[in-house]
Amino acid sequence: MAAIRTPEQELARFRGRLAVAGIIALIGFGLLAARFFYLQVVRYDYYSTRAEDNRISLVPIVPNRGLITDRNGTVLARNYSAYTLEITPSKVADLEATIEELSKLVDIQPKDRKRLKKLMDESKSFESLPLRNRLSDEEVARFIAQRYRFPGVELKARLFRDYPLGSFASHVIGYIGRINDRDLERIEESEDAANYRGTDHIGKSGLEKSYERDLHGITGFEEVEVDSGGRAVRLLRRTPAIPGNNVVLTLDLKLQEIVEKAFGNRRGALVAIEPSTGGVLAMASTPTFDPNLFVDGIAPQDWDQLNTDQDKPLLNRAIYSAYPPGSTFKPFMALGALTTGKRTPNQTLADPGYFNFGGHRFMDDKIGGHGGVDLYKSIVVSCNTYYYVLANDMGIDAIAGFMRPFGFGQRSGIDLPGESEGVLPSPEWKKKRFKKPEQQKWFGGETISVGIGQGYNAYTPLQMAQGLAALVNNGVLFRPHIARHVVDAKTGEKRTIEPEPLRTIPLKQAHIDLIKRAMVGVNKAGTGARAFAGAPYEVGGKTGTAQVYSLKGGKYVEGRIAERLRDHSWFIAFAPADKPKIALAVLVENGGFGAQSAAPIARQALDYYLLGKVPAGIAPEDPAAEESAEVAE
């Protein structure tokens, strides 16, 4: 840098630079003015022609949405083609009169008018909006004959989404719906706006939402010359759309059907996982709903009904609702006791039928107790006292620390939207959860409730299935997933969703084997024995009962308690015991004792999956499989 200058020299240089800045500003504006002159004078004719008649219009070609099929090719979501009557409000002189005239040719209901009104509020007036969907052949013929009378009204062939199996697996498949303002914002944020020109539907829930990117495809476009009335007269150039990819699931639809039927009209959920891959074989949540209702904008009365129903059919209980695991938590507790060295397999506890702690008596459910109880027996007879004492010996930090790697209290990362975390209780969790200092303190008595799966514990059926799958898979935990392949609709090229092992929990093989043996014992001689009487395969299981309503000292008698306050019924199971192909968790809301209502559902699922046995009342072969070939283009 130059030598230090006098203030006068500095000022002179500064003013010199100001002059340079002034000149640069003039040059910059001069260039802009030249650009304006070029655009507005030299090329005025060109641009004014382009603006004035806008002859060349770009028409997006919406790609066909990909199909969703189960692992055997049964179609769960497809498209079919139908005619729709569309109207462009800006090209119609008298909208009311036009609709009135149209209603003489085509059946137009008040709800169609209402929907059009709503669409007009949301869209620009030169957009073509649907007035009536799915016209019958007769209506199409009547309209075509009189078409000349209706400028601005067009008949268009469009693809509609269809869920051929109705309410089966509806929570997993999800549904599409018209793009609303929130979706639009998301689309703009993802810089995908161009690809959604012309598309008016988007995945709203389930797989339709999580695989939206694959299913949607890539929008093509046509450059067409239009006449003054806006009708296309000549095609100039065409870039075809690339159809969306098909998504093939790990789900076995037959298993799904058997499970959903087994629930009957009870509320609950089931998740079945292949332990060696994390692939979801079945995911049921009852009651279900019909996703077809949503495709063209759900009618207000249907929406109200679904929303106000106290059974909450729209809720995916399998991944969203968290319940205390009850005694299904005990195998995990027992494994934790062995792993942390707090118990040996042979250590025996004399169970008096209760455990006293801090002036409170924690009761066993068998009056007088189970006598001498070792670890094996504690699982088979589901002895509470054993786990009261164990939880107290382990302490809450050791329990939470052992359980966390199994996925309890965390989102599993499954490829479905709307998963909840559940609660793995710990002093830290309590500190975060509660505001007042007196509520934040962890009490020793709470640890004891946690030990038998009650208290603050709350896990989703998915978390229970995932935890069990990891246990029986020798500690290797996979990220659960429902999609198996994504298939390019044109080339047939398959992209496999690879099983993703998330972690290996350090466990001793001898410990795992003991727990598995004890769970087999549950179904042979313990709480699950009745449900699995005569099963030709070896199956491990555990019943559980989650308290909904706490009886202050009174005795729980099912018949005397209102149905919705009854306990939730759990059952977890895996089979075959030596090399498990399936691990599942069943929850029946207010189902009472676990062995009563949840275990029989698990039995039906395992009988089908392992033996191919189909219960009475369900068609043995797959009626939907044949339909998969005839899918609308």
Partner: protein, 379 residues
């Protein structure tokens, strides 16, 4: 009559901080903005009035703050700005793929906006504190002070604001006497670089070619500028349609409220970044040139104030603020007319948008203060 209620006294209290020529030019621009808004987006006139009132109040307050006071808040403002930018990087809200906003409970703020003013203020303060002994080392320090926030803003990513903040800091360096031996090579490299991008556009815009240091969407914007027809449904659409709007305006325009591009919804963001396209479609080349002349007058008034400013601090600040207005105007009109890439830079004092208007009026207020206090400050 009670002297406190004397209307002439009140008027003088209100008007005395303001600089006549600057005030008239800003009023002309906001009036122009209102006229265009009547056509482009009449439902926003109310908010425009509120925004303008707030911005003018900020300008008036800024014009009353003496330059010495500004100097004393420069460094704290800079530090606050950096802290907020770091907070954005850590906890900011993501919108449109970028992390720019900080949620402070009642409202969301965009700290990078603050830096547009804090940057020149800080650098001018730094050079003032080294007055009479400025060496090469000082420029290095100043450049580091500049690059820290620019890096944070570019990482958000917000290319438009990063360019504006870089420019605002560079202007201070330029006026402080950064040697031509550094400026010229950078300018030459830049021009050669841009020329080669234009020349090789077809090759480097192929999908799959990664541009070092730039995000995919930034590459896309440059490529779309080179060939808008490559993406006519998406990003090229803005440029194609705004160019048609400008070109079809002709010499005198289609008339107020008659712009077909505007009213048939072909123009994107017609009340914000692309408002210039509305103006030129409806008022033609004449309308555009009137706007350009107002900007030239504004900039020359600013340069004149800088020339007469008594201290190094006020000189540097006035010069830099003036060139920021120039940069805003040049970049915005350049992008709308298709010769610069689309980066989110508003048309100064004309585009709808409260934050930018307040920032700009704050800048004008500071210029007014420098002009008003030019004699009272002696060194």
């Amino acid at each position: 009559m009670n002297p406190r209620l004397d209307p002439r006294k009140w008027l003088s209290f209100l008007l005395s901080p303001l600089d006549g020529p600057l005030m008239l030019l800003v009023l002309a621009l906001t009036a122009y903005s209102a006229v265009i808004m009547v056509s482009a987006s009449p439902e926003r006139l109310g908010t425009l009035a509120v925004n303008t009132a707030v911005a003018f109040f900020v300008m008036w307050v800024a014009a009353r703050i003496p330059p010495q006071r500004m100097m004393s808040i420069a460094l704290p403002l800079y530090v606050i700005g950096i802290v907020l930018l770091v907070a954005v990087a850590l906890f900011g809200d993501v919108s449109k793929g970028a992390r720019r906003w900080l949620n402070i409970g009642i409202t969301r703020i965009q700290p990078s906006e603050l830096m547009k003013i804090a940057m020149p203020l800080t650098l001018a303060w730094y050079f003032q504190s080294r007055e009479g002994m400025i060496r090469g080392r000082d420029f290095l320090i100043a450049i580091s002070l500049l690059l820290l926030p620019v890096g944070l803003i570019a990482k958000q990513p917000d290319l438009g604001t990063a360019i504006l903040v870089t420019a605002s800091g560079f202007f201070v360096l330029f006026f402080a006497g950064l040697t031509w031996r550094l400026i010229l090579p950078v300018a030459v490299v830049g021009i050669v670089g841009i020329a080669s991008i234009v020349a090789m556009g077809d090759t480097i815009c192929q999908p799959g070619v990664d541009w070092p240091g730039l995000r995919e969407y930034q590459k896309h914007r440059v490529c779309t500028l080179l060939d808008p027809t490559s993406d006519p449904l998406g990003k090229g659409f803005h440029i194609i349609q705004s160019t048609i709007a400008i070109g079809s305006g002709g010499v005198v325009g289609k008339g107020w409220g008659n712009g077909t591009q505007t009213h048939l919804d072909f123009l994107p963001e017609r009340h914000t970044d692309f408002i210039f396209a509305v103006l030129t479609e409806e008022f033609g080349l004449v309308g555009a040139l009137i706007l350009v002349v107002i900007y030239i007058l504004l900039i020359f008034r600013g340069l004149f104030i800088a020339a007469g400013a008594p201290t190094l601090f006020s000189r540097l600040l006035a010069g830099a603020l003036t060139l920021i207005f120039f940069t805003y105007a040049l970049v915005n009109m350049g992008m709308v007319s298709g010769i610069l890439p689309v980066v989110g830079v508003p048309l100064p004092f004309v585009s709808y948008g409260g934050t930018a208007l307040v920032t700009l009026c704050l800048g004008v207020g500071m210029l007014m203060s420098i002009q008003r206090h030019r004699r009272r400050v002696g060194t």
